[in-house]
Symmetry: C2
């Protein structure tokens, strides 16, 4: 059995890679809330286990074995999130931290039962795709709000969890998942984005808009 720490690192590395970004020691250190030196130590351990390739000073990359494990952890995480939201009515902004703890204790049987109960969902409550059991990742249709063209409409699906500041801001706007927005203007996509939310116009900073994921509507 892998330790919880190993699973957490693999998941974090996967998520950095998925964002297209290079996986830096500092990035992981912030994400996992440990000192950079601790990351280096663990990364060396993961490299010895053939779960990542580590080029000193140049970053780290999952091997296919590492990616497989990361996807299993993420599947657990997102199924738990979905289950908590759906079956227990846990609020959208709390499922994440709960799932972070549950994902490590969930047996395969429980995973299957929850999956059945939920009718084999392909996205979690944030709209993020749930990997299939074989590790294949459903193609996400999500885009950043700031990438929608003016006039285009979409549904808020996900914001970066953990970002309390942003969540509060979105709360003030009445912005939650499944709220429909329509982009009114952006000038010229590296400035603020103006959107119509529930009939009212709002100007969002580029940074905030960049963190809001939407599912475009036809």
């Amino acid at each position: 059995m892998l330790t919880q720490a190993v699973e957490d690192y693999l998941k974090a590395i996967y998520e950095f890679q998925a964002e297209g970004g290079k996986v830096s020691t500092t990035g992981l250190s912030e994400q996992l809330d440990v000192a950079p030196a601790s990351v280096t130590g663990m990364v060396k351990k993961l490299a010895k286990m053939k779960l990542v390739v580590h080029e000193p000073y140049q970053g780290v990359e999952l091997t296919s074995a590492g990616e497989k494990i990361a996807l299993e952890v993420i599947r657990h995480h997102r199924l738990v999130e979905s289950y908590l939201a759906e079956a227990l009515g846990v609020s959208w902004d709390k499922v994440h931290e709960e799932a972070d703890r549950w994902e490590h204790v969930l047996s395969e049987e429980m995973e299957d039962l929850m999956d059945d109960k939920l009718g084999h969902p392909t996205t979690d409550p944030h709209g993020a795709p749930i990997p299939a059991r074989d590790g294949s990742m459903p193609r996400s249709k999500l885009r950043r709000l700031s990438e929608l063209a003016p006039g285009e409409a979409g549904v808020i699906s996900e914001v970066n969890d953990h970002d309390a500041e942003l969540l509060r801001y979105l709360g003030e706007l009445g912005l939650f998942p499944a709220v429909k927005v329509r982009v009114i203007s952006s000038a010229p996509f590296d400035g603020p984005v103006t959107v119509r939310i529930n009939g009212d116009k709002h100007a969002l900073g580029r940074e905030v808009a960049g963190q809001i994921l939407v599912e475009p509507l036809p």
Copy 2:
């Protein structure tokens, strides 16, 4: 936050105490599957934390602070068991080991939600009482099958988990929780107990009968 190990030790100590037995190093060592020396070490640590009183060579006893924590852990455990059985249809003989892992990651909110969902049960699927939130333990009506008088009837509520041999034996008899039994004879209560189960007579060894808990019927 307490570590998982501390919680496991407190729970195990509580359970030994509840059985009326003296809490021995060896007993804990077997229950927790660690070496006796490890138990001594942890017990000394718990004593320093004022969660137990440790009289060297004479055993260990929970303080009221320790008992409070043990009851919280047991409440989590039994609520999870109940929830898994009820909401996810997990089979009676598997909920225990699953709950052993879940109990440590369950937040108070989740506990409350599950408790609500279940309608505030007072016993788990094995019939064991679920401590209330304030730590009070519902009085259990359970007795050992071998303690029922001839002619008395009861409902099978619980057998010692972990005992694969016994479980298999009970399975052969078609014996599961909530099966009604009637004691036909026992001679004279320190020999085998003969019971009627689903219409058929069965002779159970004293030892087996001693491990079966029943809820007496009026």
